[in-house]
Symmetry: C2
Subunit: 899 residues, 2 copies
């Protein structure tokens, strides 16, 4: 290997912040800090390539050992200390550091270089033998655990003994309980003699229980530690973290070897963690915690309670007050770092005998609200431009601003956790049926509708509720899709709760909640709580609006919404929707006053009877569309003709069937026969969409008549209208030709009667692979395509979204699919069809309008894909419109800048 | 228009047989016959383009009237007669004639040119006034019906009156019943006076009932007749015929105007229809019927019983004996025509006063058996080559040779007609349950299993039966697929029968049949008969084998079979299968002695319990594969790992669930919970195929172990083996990688244990659009692709084959789809994916083996498509192997010769 294996940082500096891939985030930042004159303990970084090489070679990479020795020599020179030396021993830390931050996921070893000899030298030099033996004890513990892979707890005995003897010596009662003992005699109370005894005992235990001696050779220690960091890349925690965060397994980690500085060398020493801005609100205040006489891990682990960095209103124990000089230096450094990195920084520092060292700086994690505020503020401060600010925001996290949320600081414990399906934190009384939900809501109660799963018959109950909780179903189940559309908070697939309709109870984690009792659900985390839990409100103003305005200026694609009612449409327009991308007319069919006519239509034995029933529906549908057109004021309104199989409109339960038979004046047997006739083995692939319209063209004719009649009447009111008539589930041009003919015929009649005409578009939903494959033919009839990505995913992948719960988890675990394809578009497969169809469509009709209206329309990764294939718009549920606006802006910027 | 509108035939001849597109089949053949010196009454043909022009213009095409007049003048010259002339009037026939034969589908008018004047001239010239008025009467009837579009039956009165007066005159009893009257006094008994009266009455009726006079101007008659032929192209019969035969609507018909000759000018005149070979057997004998003193329609309509053309064993009334000279001339002509056209001819002739005229010749329709015999015989006679012979055979009709069939000459009336799902004619006693079928079969009865629909639980009953009849389901329903696989005769979707399980009866067309009573089903026509019906046997020898041998020499693609048992495999090998393209292992799971272990596996609560159950299945599966490998003797055996969702193996009915719970030692509630857990909304898109193997890899491991253990043991017997392990329903490379790993691991174990190794292939079924789109990735793992075209059709088109019955008929009626895509591959959509996948696969792995194993593998049109995209093989059910062999040969020949 001729590759450079190691990069040093100190007075000279071989790396910089741009080398994250090779040096990891931590290593690159240490190098960068050193480069710009920040006081950093000198050290060196072993590259990520060495980690990869380690896994390839199955051991220490060739040549690395020599390279490490050379760098240690350099470090001795740099610090004036000697590794394992008897005059001024050099101690080092060994830390992992991957390209992406993986906090707490990998192991760290401190105080390396100590042994029975050097610990004594250190004790003498520092005149602080307690500190030296405490450091040695820590090294022994960490080394045994991390490098020698000891079982946890093997060191408990000696520490407890030491505590007991201290307690006795001080004349304290010795608590029998070990935890109580730990509280009564904290580590800091152990004196040098106890610690010496502990160190001796630890070495004995290591030799006995692990079967190998603790290595006294510092180079051997160092080699073991480096190997341990390499190994830690593939420990269970790290693998899980990568899986959860989409980090490739083949990046590897760098290893940082850095000279130690000590925050625990007495009261003139300290350590701390600070942020350049408040990470939960984004306010520009210097914020953090510190501890005197402590090592970094003490702050992070929270063993001792940290003190504030900056002075508060009252006099206190802040760093600013305790060590004003170090504080002033730190304050200047944090300002410098934020300006240098142009982002809020998360900084670790140590003060060793009044001397300040920076151990790490990185872009700080922050809450969604803070993300927006900081991004906008940094633009105001001239540090970044608007596009950079837009790219800094995670669109998904805007949910945190759009809805009230369960207070992240709550101490309440969740009783169960499901799939976060529609955001917000809400509290309400439990109702187990749609009817009960309606009754309670009418009494003024806030209701959480709790169902095993929901069906279209639950719609009025879902509307009446503030939140919906189901024990089954995934992120695109009926409950999830409808709740998102309505803006209701929703948790689905909460398998941890057991719902007993008969008893009227939910049980989970030993808690039982009855109908009418309070629960709280958090649709952003999926958590379910018994009782009420404190919440924080939505934040829609200020920086949020500023950011959205920038997004609107930056994005190419338009954002539409999926909305079925004037109420939803109005909400969406408030959120910035530029049209309706999908109005599902069947939802209108379920309204209580209409469903009898719908059922009459379905049960009609011939066309005249069916037309009679349809005539009853016509005024309802006309009124529906009139309302939508008035709200949308000339923005495009895309209306999909009836889509679901007819059996969805008929009841399935015996009692309901009997009731309906009575109402309809038919026998139960006749009704059951009709229901049986409509039964389908695979309703997803059955008689629905345009197939219904081919079998019963009069249904489509009624709907077209309603759309255009409404359009004419609204236009007469002086309001612009732009209807789009969308044919669902087409698989051929011929279907569209037949439907187009109906539209032509009906429109001529309606316009003649109204005495005016309106412009409208005719087009189709692309939901089947065949439609995508033959998009060039379809485009001969269709003036627009709207990809129904839910169904297109189902058919392309052969996945029923209602059934995939039984195997999709295994598919994600085994990395067969990178993510749930119903949440984020399968770009490799489904995306290929979308791209193909868009190209074929444009070839035939260059000005064809193309968008997507599936659930993916609100998913940032899917939106980025839509940008990449040049779609005209995405359509999503009202509450995701702001997210889509930002995601679309990011996609446009990234496409242009390749950022 | 400068196009030539009319082509004449007579002494000079402007057209020939190659001009069928322009002149129609009849016109082109008349021209051809005239050209080669066959005596044909002269005439002319108005081109098909004029018909298309008529539909475009909505009336008589510009210029055509003048062109017709010119040609009439020419015809007057050619015949020495005058159209409407008072000396020697020219009478003409006007006949339709499309590019493809559409027998009886369009209207014909004879004797055109007669009116009150010319009829008298004709009467005098022929000295046969009865003949003249009979001709006039016929013209009036036809003209009124066809051109003037009179209601049928308006002419009944006068004929009945005439019959009555003749009966009275002859002193006969006048039957009150009109049909009896017709029999008592046939047309031939009506004298000239009666016919004159009839003509006068007809003209009156025309004027009164239609409101227009019968046109006396012959040119006006001719124009009306031409228009009527144009119109007849779009009459209901013609449209239906085209739909049934796949003839495009935009071909149009030609119009043949031909001078009349009369077979009804007395006893020296005659008319007849003959075939150059016997059309039901193909024997080389001159065959046909004739009638003295008759017009062609008399023979075709069968009003009078025809006499044989050729002399029989006994002296009789044959043409050969009655008019030996004309017969000899006709015999020579038919020989000449067959040699000229190199195919069996269907000839119409007329003898007018001893003079022979040929009115038409065309390739004769023939039975499937005759098709094969004639094709092979013509090769023997040197008239055609083997490739032409192969192209002459309709592969689908080979079914007629493979199975006994209901005798086409039967007079038995069908009580219902369903979808012909698996060929053959069988008679058996009705059984309504699988159990009853088994019991009866064990008693030695032949059984027809009658079910509303079948499920895998009916398998043993289907096996025990000779035929299966269902009232629901389509050509690819469970019953149809399984029956074809087993070679059982099957009629499905027979909606006309009503099955009452409780009463144990079938009702149809007023007939009720009880369990145990005989019915006959015809799986080639879909017909169902009460009782026994005569049948003709299968014919597998002679010419059939010769033809198959030629097909094998000609075809490029290999033919495999879908077979799950050694019995089926043996049958398929007998029929010429070159391997197994699909062995469905799940069918083996349903066997009575295995299903308990299968259910134990499904109900297992953890992996060890599941492995215990699988261990019980291992020896069964090993035995299954051992049997298959022995039969196939080194031919490839493609075995698909478990495919169906697990719930298919569990009972659905309460009683069966209770029984199973008892057997399995679990509670009914627990079993019901498991069944509910396995329930899927869209099982087609659920947890099946490789998804099962991803969730439960131990199932796949057991199957692989069984396959390879069997392969090793058969190889040790000295028999070659070539297993192919096929992974169903893959949608990604990753699934294949995981499965390949299992296969590697298990194969290493099995080979180590056996002490030998066997070659095998690993590959996948392509059933999902995503798999086709990512075929390049899949090919990195897969050594073969097998297109599962049933499922690929379902997913690509979003059609559930079990549910599409509710709308597919509307789709075919409205020509949205050209055919049932489950019968013949949707080449535009599904075919596009197949082609794409084959290309992508070959790009990555040039030697990849590619075939199809869906139901389409036995469909000739689909086979032609497979040839066009270069697949290596098709696989079909055993009884379709001969069909596939011929279809594949045709595809190869057509691809090369573009025939």
């Amino acid at each position: 290997m001729t590759t450079k294996m190691i990069y040093r940082f100190g007075k000279v500096c071989e790396g910089d912040a741009d080398m994250k891939a090779l040096l990891g985030g931590k290593g690159a930042n240490l190098a960068e800090m050193a480069k710009i004159g920040i006081p950093v303990p000198p050290g060196f970084t072993i590259t990520t390539e060495m980690c990869i090489e380690y896994y390839k070679a199955g051991g220490f990479p060739a040549g690395l050992e020599d390279a490490v020795k050379e760098s240690v020599k350099w470090l001795e020179n740099e610090t004036g200390k000697q590794f394992g030396g008897s005059q001024n021993p050099l101690l080092v830390s060994v830390r992992s550091g991957a390209r992406a931050s993986m906090p707490g996921m990998m192991d760290t070893i401190l105080n390396l270089g100590l042994n029975d000899t050097t610990v004594e030298v250190l004790a003498k030099r520092t005149e602080n033998p307690r500190f030296a033996y405490d450091a040695y004890r820590r090294l022994l513990t960490m080394y045994a655990n991390v490098v020698m892979e000891a079982h946890h707890g093997i060191f408990d005995g000696p520490m407890d003994e030491a505590r007991k003897s201290v307690a006795k010596a001080k004349g304290l009662d010795v608590p029998a309980d070990i935890e109580a003992l730990g509280r009564a005699v904290p580590d800091t109370m152990l004196g040098v003699e106890e610690l010496k005894g502990v160190c001796a005992a630890f070495k004995r235990i290591i030799a006995e229980k692990i079967g190998r001696e603790f290595p006294t050779d510092p180079y051997e220690q160092l080699k073991g530690a480096i190997l341990a960091v390499f190994r830690s890349w593939n420990n269970d925690r790290a693998i899980l973290y990568r899986k959860m965060n989409g980090i490739p397994d083949d990046w590897g980690t760098a290893v940082n070897v850095q000279s130690m500085v000590f925050g625990n060398m007495g009261e003139t020493s300290a350590t701390g963690v600070c942020f350049t801005r408040e990470p939960s609100t984004g306010e520009k205040i210097f914020f953090g915690e510190w501890l005197p006489n402590a090592q970094g891990e003490d702050v992070v682990a929270g063993i001792r309670t940290g003190r504030p960095i900056a002075k508060g209103r009252e006099a206190g124990n802040s760093l600013e007050e305790t060590m004003p000089e170090a504080y002033q230096q730190l304050f200047g450094i944090q300002e410098k770092l934020e300006k240098h990195y142009k982002d809020m920084q998360d900084i670790e520092f140590t003060i060793e005998d009044k001397k300040l060292f920076l151990l790490q700086t990185r872009n700080g994690k922050r809450a969604g609200r803070a993300e927006v505020k900081i991004a906008v503020d940094l633009v105001g401060e001239g540090l970044i431009d608007k596009e950079t600010a837009l790219l800094r925001v995670t669109p998904e996290r805007l949910n945190e601003l759009l809805f009230p949320a369960v207070d992240p600081k709550t101490t309440a414990k969740a009783i169960a956790k499901g799939i976060a399906a529609s955001p917000g934190g809400v509290t309400g009384v439990v109702a187990f049926s749609a009817e009960d939900a309606v009754v309670r809501a009418e009494k003024g109660e806030k209701v959480i509708l709790v169902r095993i799963e929901t069906s279209p018959e639950d719609l009025h109950g879902m509307k009446a509720a503030v939140g919906i909780l189901t024990s089954r179903g995934g992120a695109t189940s009926h409950a999830a899709v409808v709740a998102r559309g309505m803006g209701r908070t929703c948790v689905v697939g909460c398998a941890g709760i057991s719902i007993n309709y008969a008893a009227g109870t939910i049980s989970a984690s030993g808690t039982t909640i009855k109908a009418g009792e309070l629960i709280t659900i958090d649709g952003s985390s999926g958590k379910v709580y018994g009782g009420d839990v404190p919440k924080i409100p939505a934040t829609l103003g200020g920086e949020f609006q500023t950011l959205l305005a920038w997004a609107d200026a930056a994005r190419r694609m338009k954002i539409r919404t999926n909305a079925d009612t004037p109420h939803d449409a109005m909400k969406a327009v408030e959120f910035g929707a530029q049209g309706i991308g999908l109005c599902r007319t069947e939802h209108m069919f379920f309204e209580e006053e209409r469903i009898p006519a719908v059922r009459e239509m379905i049960l009609a034995s011939d066309k005249p009877a069916r037309e009679k029933a349809l005539a009853k529906l016509l005024p309802f549908q006309t009124a529906d569309f009139t309302g939508l057109f008035r709200v949308m004021k000339g923005l495009p309104v895309n209306i999909r003709l009836l889509d679901p199989p007819l059996h969805e409109f008929l009841p399935q339960e015996k009692k309901q069937i009997e009731d309906l038979a009575k109402t309809m004046g038919v026998t139960v047997a006749a009704l059951e026969a009709k229901i049986a006739e409509l039964h389908e083995f695979n309703p997803m692939l059955g008689n629905r969409g345009v197939r219904l319209a081919i079998c019963y063209p009069e249904i489509a004719a009624m709907q077209v008549r309603a759309i255009l009649t409404a359009a004419c009447s609204v236009k007469k009111e002086g309001i612009e209208v732009l209807p789009e008539i969308m044919i669902p589930l087409a698989l051929s041009k011929a279907e569209l030709t037949i439907m187009h003919e109906i539209v032509h015929k009906v429109s001529a009649e309606v316009f003649a009667q109204a005495g005016i005409t309106v412009q409208f578009k005719f087009g189709t939903m692309i939901e089947l692979p065949r439609a995508a494959l033959l998009a060039n033919e379809l485009a001969e009839e269709a003036e627009f395509f709207s990809f129904g990505t839910n169904d297109l995913t189902q058919t392309t992948m052969g996945l029923s979204r209602d059934d995939s719960g039984s195997f999709l988890p295994a598919y994600k675990d085994q990395k067969i699919l990178p993510h749930d394809p119903f949440v984020s578009l399968d770009t490799a497969g489904v995306g290929q069809l979308i791209q193909m169809a868009a190209e074929k469509g444009r070839r035939v009709r260059p000005d064809i309008s193309i968008g997507i209206c599936g659930e993916h329309g609100g998913d940032p990764a899917s939106i980025a894909f839509c940008e990449s294939v040049g779609l005209g718009y995405v359509s999503c549920s009202p509450f995701r419109v702001p997210i889509a606006r930002v995601a679309a802006a990011q996609a446009t910027i990234r496409a242009r800048t390749k950022k």
